[in-house]
């Protein structure tokens, strides 16, 4: 067994960041400096954009442009964030042009997509930004007309003064308004007066998408651009020893083959500077096809990387991390984890006296759940454009967190941040992976080396076998019942490689008198990272399956048991720091119960499973209905109830929930990367099974709790409980419990892949 050299497993930063979810919230307020930055004053030329605030530009002929601050990866922020500005600005949505903003953390705030943060982070600042711009226009009109500001009204891009009958377009006053200082503290409108937010608006990029416009990173091109690909080692724990590129260099279109280091020896890695391989073997040529082919002709010797040491700086917390050298296999890793699980672990939370309660219990149930590495498999493989000269660096492509990679780029290029420009293209998916910017640094270094604009392209195989997966997880749950089948104690002990998933203050913490949560970790050389609702996407299946089994053992209805525990957590909470709101939690369960007709005999042809979860500040519950189709379980219908506070764009929000449901079914049924001696066994969609059209449910009904709570995020929360609801419905359908993902290894329908993970 590997010797554990450090308490800090590598890359265990997930919990300390916004990506991990829970109560953490990134917020910023719009200080006037933001708005004033780069503000240009007036012009009266038609067609000329006049900047009112950083977010709003208007032409004299009344075209309205709103800047979207946050990158887009399918969560529809390019539509919904500008809607918030437009609402307060009071313009007709159909006249609004939306533009993706440049990377500028001063002007546009954090510009970070992840942790279901976009709406939560930008709701208030964007309301302020829209209201401020409107106020400037009102003031400009009042000055021009010589009337009191309070008497000027607006509607749909027009200004009015009722008493004098005067009116004018925003464009008429844009120039004058732009000279007015941006006001502070303008109150956004009352929620009951919203006319745009809370109505369904179509994706502003819809036409561009359906006509195949070049929106994505892989579509980005520039004159003289070359294509680069990295040939990475075949296994985690290996590195480049030597290579002979003579055959490759003879191939048509090939410019160069070289070897560079990504980060300097001993350099300090920031929180999102994860990279799997540091020694890069790079092939550069004219076109992707030529580079792909020529790369196959490389003659490369790899060697074991051995144990290595890294210095990490996790947002100010410095640590030395030892990365083990062994070539890991999934089955032996699981064995190691099962051994480690028997040892003592770190105490995460304790209420009451769980040891005694378990000792005195009339009945104890104990179950262990396992989850595999999961690759993100974004539809658009990783890629980035870079053009680095001595004077400046231009980077363009798909990424979730430009602000986090910029300091890294500055460090590897030894260039001040103000000489680095990052342009954000639309992303063909992200799911957490594009928060890690190694591929930008790679592209930048390659461009500098070959002194040309270059696009770094990962093939699907490169992308899938590179790592930054969801960690390998396990968790054992125990419950103690008294002679009357009352729940008297609850214990969870979770572990992982290289980190565990346990969120100690989540439900049912707070609802049980005697509660114990523990965690342990084993180091690994497999890189891991945020995967849509990190940690929660494992907890929700383990905990929610366990509660289902517990309810059955106690002779209770699974929804009713959860509701009674939530009632306890509300009325007489146990312990401190419970991170959920029992009322909101109970509300989604009650809603899904009603909408699905839970317990209604008319649904008895279905095997029904329920689960609910709280993460990333929002609440989600699903009822999953399974039938047998061609002898195999098939999720035919799903009912979803969500509380994410105010829903900005309801139909787009429903689309995202439906997508999360499909994603959850797919990953719970089929998801799992298997390693053998460090080698990922699946490297493309012919070997890695993804949910397909025919396996998607026929119906997913989405319901949102209506309330006036500021938006609390939606990209991730609906995803984790899908796994749990699927597991619970599968039990009803198959007559056995499902403890290990992917579930289909126990009912393989023979299409592909029957992973045999556990020894």
């Amino acid at each position: 067994m590997e010797k554990i050299k450090t308490n800090y497993s590598r890359r265990s930063f997930l919990k300390s960041t916004a990506l991990a979810g829970g109560g953490l919230m990134i917020s910023f307020s719009l200080v006037p400096e933001f708005l004033l930055a780069a503000k240009k004053n007036g012009t009266d030329l038609p067609g000329q954009w006049i900047e009112l605030t950083g977010y709003v530009k208007i032409t004299p002929d009344n075209n309205i442009k709103i800047i979207c601050p946050n990158p887009e990866f399918g969560q529809n922020v390019m539509t919904s964030l500008p809607m918030i500005v437009a609402e307060e600005l009071d313009v007709d949505w159909k006249n609004v042009i939306v533009e993706m903003g440049p990377h500028d953390n001063v002007k546009y705030g954090p510009q970070f997509v992840g942790g279901s943060n976009s709406m939560r982070m930008y709701w208030k600042p964007l309301r302020e930004a829209g209201a401020a711009a409107r106020h400037m226009l009102v003031e400009a009109a009042a000055q021009t007309w010589g009337v009191p500001v309070e008497e000027v009204t607006t509607k749909a891009g027009m200004l009015y003064h009722e008493k004098t009958g005067k009116s004018g377009k925003y464009g008429d006053f844009a120039s004058k308004a732009s000279a007015i200082p941006i006001p502070k503290g303008i109150k956004p409108k009352d929620l009951k007066n919203l006319y745009l937010v809370r109505t369904s608006r179509k994706n502003v990029e819809g036409l561009n998408i359906v006509t195949g416009k070049p929106l994505f990173g892989l579509d980005y091109t520039q004159d003289g651009m070359l294509i680069a690909m990295i040939h990475h080692p075949p296994a985690f724990g290996m590195k480049l020893k030597s290579f002979d590129a003579s055959e490759t260099l003879k191939m048509p279109g090939i410019k160069d083959v070289f070897n560079i280091k990504l980060y300097d020896e001993g350099s300090e890695l920031g929180g999102f500077d994860i990279r799997t391989f540091n020694d890069l073997l790079v092939v550069v040529g004219n076109t992707t096809w030529e580079v792909m082919n020529a790369r196959k002709k490389l003659n490369v010797q790899w060697e074991a990387a051995g144990e290595t040491k890294e210095t990490h700086n996790m947002f100010g917390r410095k640590m030395e991390v030892i990365i083990p050298g062994a070539l890991e296999s999934s089955d032996s890793s699981y064995k190691m984890m099962m051994e480690r699980a028997k040892e003592p672990a770190t105490l995460l939370r304790k209420d009451g006296d769980p040891e005694t309660a378990f000792k005195n219990a009339a009945q104890v149930i104990e179950r262990t759940y396992n989850g595999p590495f999961l690759p993100h498999n974004c539809m658009e493989p990783m890629n980035f454009f870079a053009h680095v000269t001595d004077e400046k660096a231009l980077l363009a492509g798909p990424l979730q967190a430009p602000g986090w990679i910029e300091p890294t780029l500055s460090k590897v290029l030894k260039m001040p941040p103000d000489k680095i420009e990052i342009r954000m293209t639309r992303m063909g998916g992200g799911f957490g992976l594009r928060a890690y910017g190694h591929y930008l640094a790679e592209a930048a270094l390659i461009s500098r080396q070959i002194k040309a604009p270059v696009k770094l392209v990962y093939s699907r195989e490169d992308d899938m076998t590179y790592g930054i997966y969801r960690p390998l997880y396990t968790a054992t749950y125990r419950a103690a019942l008294d002679a009357n089948k009352n729940l008297i104690a609850f214990h969870v002990k979770g572990g992982g490689m290289p980190e565990h998933a346990i969120a100690a203050n989540r439900f049912p913490a707070g609802a049980v008198d005697n509660y114990l949560a523990e965690g342990w970790e084993l180091p690994s050389n497999v890189t891991v990272g945020a995967f849509r609702a990190p940690r929660s996407n494992f907890n929700a299946v383990a905990e929610q399956s366990f509660l289902d089994e517990l309810a059955e053992t106690m002779g209770r209805d699974p929804i009713e048991l959860r509701l009674s525990l939530l009632k306890r957590a509300k009325e007489n909470p146990v312990g401190k720091n419970n991170d959920y709101d029992p009322d909101r939690y109970a509300a989604v369960l009650t809603m899904v119960k009603e909408k699905s007709g839970w317990n209604n005999p008319e649904h008895k042809k279905y095997s029904r499973g329920v689960a609910a979860y709280f993460c990333h500040n929002s609440y989600a519950a699903h009822v999953v209905d399974i039938v047998k189709r061609d002898g195999q379980p098939y999720v035919e219908r799903v009912y979803s109830a969500i509380d994410c506070g105010i829903v900005i764009n309801p139909d787009a929000a429903a689309n995202m929930v439906q997508g999360a449901v499909v994603d959850g079914i797919g990953n719970s049924f089929y998801g799992g990367m298997i390693l053998r001696e460090g080698v990922p066994e699946q490297n493309n969609f012919n070997r890695y099974r993804m949910i397909r059209f025919r396996e998607a449910p026929k119906k997913i009904e989405v319901y949102f709790v209506q309330n006036d709570i500021d938006p609390t995020g939606l990209g991730e929360p609906p995803f984790p409980p899908v796994f749990g609801a699927v597991a619970n419905a599968l039990y009803k359908n198959m007559g056995k419990r499902f403890y290990d993902q992917p579930f289909n290894k126990d009912f393989s329908d023979g299409v592909n892949l029957k992973p045999q993970r556990k020894a």
């Binding site: 369904s200 819809g206 992707t288």
Partner: protein, 152 residues
């Protein structure tokens, strides 16, 4: 290297490429038509779907040398203004999330409706099963195909 005169979206385009080059890369990198997407390169995702004489074909597996006089249609040429019934239905039902797979989905759907203007659910499933959508927009795709079917 060899020279090919290809009929693409009603125009003749000349390229000088290696005969084995898949149409996917000819379109994307030689003809500057990046609407056709790379997703897997092994005919397992459908992102690269184009029409060859009206039928849906995975362009990542189609060498340029095999085209001959066939008529190629790509997403850029499916309609002049993005108003093919399938494209209109896609917008109407707000199908895309990230959008990366959607050109391929639309091309597969358009080819289906061309030969079968009134497909059953099973026929839609069979036609669309080779197109992956990582964002999980399958339900909306199905609804959009049914809606478009009423228009073609």
């Amino acid at each position: 290297m060899a020279t090919y005169n290809l009929k693409i979206n009603g125009q003749t385009k000349q390229v000088d490429v290696d005969p084995a080059t898949p149409m996917l890369w000819v379109l994307r990198e030689h003809l500057n038509m990046p609407g056709t997407k790379y997703g897997c390169g092994v005919a397992m995702c459908g992102a690269c779907t184009i029409h060859v004489n009206g039928s849906a074909v995975r362009s990542c597996q189609l060498p340029v040398s095999a085209i001959g006089t066939s008529e190629i249609t790509t997403i850029e040429g499916l309609s002049e203004k993005g108003d093919h019934p399938v494209q209109k239905a896609w917008i109407e039902l707000d199908v895309p999330q990230c959008g990366y797979c959607q050109a391929g989905q639309i091309m597969t759907a358009a080819a289906l409706l061309r030969t079968n203007p009134n497909p059953t659910d099973a026929q839609i499933e069979a036609a669309m099963n080779g197109n992956l959508c990582r964002c999980g927009t399958y339900l909306r795709i199905k609804a959009a195909i049914k809606s478009a079917a009423k228009q073609v």
